[in-house]
Structure formats: C-alpha cells, structure tokens
C-alpha cells in the first residue's frame, strides 16, 4: 500500500488573505525534502477553470451539435427511435441491442459518453422504461437514451454496470423500486426496502398497511 505523503499545494486561485503562511512553509519544506529524494511528480499544482464555459470544448477537437449527434447515432443504429422536439437529444434503443449500443457510445471517441449522470426507470402501462442520462466529459454532449423492457411481468434488461460502474448502484435502486431484473449484474440486491415489499414505483403497487392514499 502506498503511504506516500505527496504534497498537493493550493488549489485554484486564493485571495491573498486566505493564504496560510504555516501551510506554505510546511509545503515548501516538504517539497525541498522530496526533491532531495528525487521525486519528480511533486510540486505546487495550481489549476483553475477560468472564465470560458467552453474550455472543455476548446481542449478537444470539435463539439458536435445535437443534430449531428443524432445523425451519427441513427446512421449507426437505423432501428433506433429518435424523439423529436424533446429537451435533449433522445434515442430509444431496442432492449436486445442496448448493451452493444451503450458500449459503442462509450468507446467511440467522437461520442465518448463516459459519464452516466442518471439512470432511472419509468413504469408505463405496457412496459417499463429505463432512462439513461449521459454526458461526455470531453465533448460536453448531453443525451438521453431509453430502453423499454419487453413487458412488465418479466421485466429484464442488460446491465450497463460493466460500462459505467455507477450504473451498478443505480440499477440496484431501479430493481428495488421498479422490479427490473438486470442481466449479468454483479450484485443485484434491494437497497431501500425489505424483501417483503413489492416494487412501489410501479403504478399498480398497493399497500394498505404502509401507504395512506388520499
């Protein structure tokens, strides 16, 4: 186990009145000490994102507009359904192609959706829909992907927890509250409720004991 005490220095710009002398002295001293040892990766690292909102975009080669994004996605997946006039670019994928689609948009460098913002489920009369809000930290795209289960009774979908680790926990939550089983999920368990409960976010959920309806 690494127990190195690398010095980190001061983050961002600080006002002069906030600079703590003792800390700096300590930092300088340890820096010196580390230099003697030959540690190269140590030093004051001052980073700050500045005024431009689009800094991330200027760093990378290009940023696609929402139309380009949709175009690229639909050309690769012709059977995907695109919803028009929605707040964000929105695409509905067939449940059997979900995993491959997700893998593609994560690994494709022009898309690079590496940040799963939110994963949730919505119960509809015929199916249960899982909604993925995705963002690319390099291109700053934002996109909504939807996948419907075949039916409500045996609601199953492929897990995306191998693509985005955070999905593992969101999927547990969805399983708990909506009852969607995720195939290949490493540890699907109920987070909030007891095993004796149903899945309360389903519209047909009724509980006369715990839930008071007005």
């Amino acid at each position: 186990m690494k127990r190195g005490r690398e010095i980190v220095g001061i983050v961002g710009k600080r006002k002069p009145d906030s600079v703590c002398k003792t800390s700096q002295r300590f930092d300088r001293m340890v820096n010196k000490k580390n230099k003697v040892k030959g540690n190269k990766d140590i030093g004051l690292s001052v980073t700050s994102r500045n005024k431009e909102v689009n800094l991330a975009q200027s760093e990378t080669n290009q940023a696609m507009t929402n139309e380009q994004l949709i175009e690229q996605l639909t050309s690769a997946n012709p059977d995907a359904v695109v919803k028009q006039g929605s707040q964000y670019p929105e695409i509905t994928v067939a449940h059997d192609k979900l995993h491959a689609f997700m893998q593609n948009i994560k690994s494709d460098s022009s898309l690079a959706f590496d940040y799963l913002v939110c994963e949730t489920g919505v119960d509809y009369p015929e199916f249960i829909q899982v909604v993925y809000h995705l963002e690319s930290t390099s291109h700053r795209h934002f996109m909504v992907v939807k996948a419907n289960t075949e039916n409500r009774e045996t609601a199953t979908l492929d897990t995306v927890s191998d693509i985005w680790p955070t999905a593992e926990f969101h999927e547990c939550e969805i399983y708990d509250l909506l009852g969607i089983r995720f195939n290949n999920h490493p540890n699907l368990r109920r987070y909030f409720l007891d095993d004796t409960w149903g899945h309360p976010l389903r519209k047909d959920f009724h509980d006369d004991i715990h839930v008071v309806e007005r």
Binding site: V11, C20, K51, V117, H133, P165, L193, D195
Partner: protein
C-alpha cells in the same frame, strides 16, 4: 425475491483472519443512519459494503400524488443541507417545461441563496468532519458561524433549514429589507473566520498526516462512478454544473471552478475550503446588483406541465443534483426522479477505502460529505 436474499448480507466469504464490523446504522461518524458492513483484518479495511435505506422516505412515490408547488417543499427534506438548491432544481424544471421566463431579480436572489446555502453546508461539513477526525472544537466553531447564515435565511424565508423559498415562477417572498446589509456583514465577518479554520485544522500537521494521500480517487474513477461536486472536482473531474450548464444568474458572474489534482482526502478538504472563498466572491458580485422588479411571475393556480420529460441539473453543495420529471399533462407528475449526488458518491467508498485503516475510512467518509436523507430519498 428470495433468490437474492443470500446475497443480502455478505457478498464474499470471510477469510480466516478477517472479521466483520457493522459501522452504523447508529455510529457517530456516519452522520445518520448509514450502515457500512466492513470486513477488517486487524485495523485494515478489506471491504466496505454500504447498506442504505434506513430512512428511505419514498419521496419519489409521494410526489406522484402532489402538485408541483407541493413537491418543492418535499425536496427540502432530502438533502436538508442544500435545501434551496433542491427547491431551485424543481422550480427550474417546471419553469423550463412551461417556458416561463422568471424576472432577473429572481435569478439573482436564487443565486445568492444558492451560494449562502453552499456556504452553510460546507461549514457544517467542515465542522462535522473536524469532529470525525477528533477535533471537537472545530464542530462548535463551524456551527457558530453557520448560525449567522441561518439567521439570514430565517429573516428572509421564515425558516432556517427547510426553506421552501423557491416556488415555481419565482421566490416566495421578496428579500427582507435587511437582507443585503446582513449578508454583507456576514461576509466581512466570515472572511476573517476562514483563515482561522485553516489555522485550526488545515495547516495542522496531525490533520495533514491524517488526510494527505488517504483515499485517493483517480479522475477516471471519479467519472466512471459519477462522483460529482467537490468530491469529484478534487479528483480533477470538471463537473461543475454552474460552469458547464449555467442556470439562474450564474451566466452573468465570473468565478473559478476549483479543481484538485490528487483526489485524496486532503484535496477534497481543500477544494471545499476554496469553494467557500469562491462562494463569497460570487455573493459579493451579486449582492449589490440585485435588479429591481417582481420577485415572482404570476403562475396559474393549478400548474399543469405539458406532456413530456424534463430534466434539470443544478449544482448542490454535494454535487450534481438532477430532477427528472415525466409529465402526462395532469397537475401531478407521472414520475419524478431525483438524481442525488450522495447516492453516486457513497458507493465509491469500497473502491477507495480498501487497504486503509479504519480511522482512514472515517476520514474518507468525512471528506465525502454524505447526507443520508439525500442518499435514501
């Protein structure tokens, strides 16, 4: 559901010299009812499995029976330390859906309240994590200074914690006549107090040894696990919604996104301390320039959202807070999902606490700034 029950308690077999310790549900350092099922060997943490749901209040289900102004007041109760950001998120989502443009004055007021709330939250985080690391005096200093912000809240909103100040279309009241004066007085005072915080803990050699290099979360992991807020930014993950998707008055102001490099506990600490300075800068830019005008636009008595799905992200004190509303055109939403930052942040704890000591686990939890109702919702 029985086929999943055997996985419920222990995910792996316990090795010969390991033992299980339940940290929580009632433990001083979990700040609530979080249960960490920890496998230890001596003092070394081998595995941490968070078990949540002890105060699951079913807010998402409750919202399906409530109208939109009523939902706003429920969001106070999730992340009670960033109540106003949560309120604002729902209000912004509703306003975006209805294509309502709120007056400039409302935007300024909301932004000032956001930053005041962030200051209050970070102060409570500061003092509580000081307490976790054993510096009990920090707890009282933090609460002492937070009191001033809560007084400002109480003066204007009438409540200290569950503000319910934002309403769809504006804010509930106009700001109190004393508001600007008391905010300025607070900032002058707090600018003197923050270096004291540094002297008491940040510079302290014991504190630095406790936190530096402990619990490193790399940038890639932060993105993959969806760790946002100061916790993610300490790892170098630029995830500030205020910067990337500006809302309210954030487009008008200049501020820095504080980014760390190391992603260790000390960096998470430092980023939050720096954010407090930045919050004060933001408030100072806005407080004198609040434009005249209405404090709310007139909304219909019964607010009905058009059919469709709406997602709104705001930066709460703990990270990216998202509201996802599915509307079927009625006065109640069809489905509401709150993307809480704490939920994503919490589950990295196994990833980064492995191999550290039990005291480091406490330090890591302290710098993660977990609020349990935020996780359980």
């Amino acid at each position: 559901m029985a086929e999943f029950s055997e996985k419920y308690i222990i995910t792996d077999e316990i090795k010969a010299d390991e033992y299980l310790v339940n940290i929580g549900p009632q433990h001083p350092s979990t700040h609530g009812v979080l249960r960490l099922l920890t496998r230890l060997e001596g003092e070394i943490v081998h595995n941490v499995e968070p078990h949540i749901g002890y105060i699951h209040s079913g807010i998402e289900k409750m919202t399906e029976a409530l109208s939109y102004p009523q939902i706003v007041h429920l969001t106070d109760r999730m992340d009670y330390l960033s109540a106003h950001m949560n309120n604002e998120a729902v209000c912004l989502c509703v306003e975006n859906a209805l294509q309502v443009e709120v007056p400039e004055r409302v935007k300024y007021i909301r932004t000032i309240f956001d930053e005041l709330q962030r200051l209050a939250s970070h102060q409570l985080w500061w003092c509580a994590s000081g307490m976790d690391l054993g510096a009990l005096t920090a707890f009282f200093y933090g609460l002492r200074d937070r009191e001033d912000i809560l007084d400002i809240f109480e003066e204007t909103c009438g409540a200290r914690l569950t503000l319910n100040y934002s309403v769809p279309g504006g804010v509930m009241f106009d700001i109190h006549p004393n508001f600007q004066k008391s905010v300025k007085a607070f900032i002058t005072k707090f600018r003197k107090k923050l270096p004291e915080y540094d002297k008491l803990l940040t510079d302290n050699i014991i504190f630095q040894n406790r936190t530096k290099g402990v619990g490193v979360l790399s940038k890639e992991d932060a993105i993959a696990f969806g760790v946002t807020g100061p916790t993610g930014r300490a790892s170098g993950f630029s995830c500030d919604v205020r910067k990337h998707h500006p809302y309210s008055a954030y487009p008008y102001i200049k501020f820095d996104e504080k980014l760390g490099t190391d992603g260790d506990s000390f960096m998470r600490w430092k980023v939050r301390m720096d954010e407090m300075w930045e919050s004060m800068n933001i408030i100072e830019q806005l407080i004198d320039n609040i434009p005249e005008g209405d404090f709310a636009v007139k909304m219909k008595g019964v607010i009905k959202l058009p059919e469709g799905e709406f997602y709104q992200r705001v930066e709460s004190a703990r990270g990216e807070f998202g509201v996802y509303i599915v509307s079927d055109g009625k006065k109640n939403p069809y489905r509401v999902k709150f993307r809480s930052p704490g939920f994503s942040n919490l589950f990295t704890i196994n990833h980064i606490a492995k191999g550290w000591k039990i005291a480091d686990l406490v330090a890591i939890m302290a710098t993660f700034d977990l609020v349990i109702p935020d996780i359980d919702r």
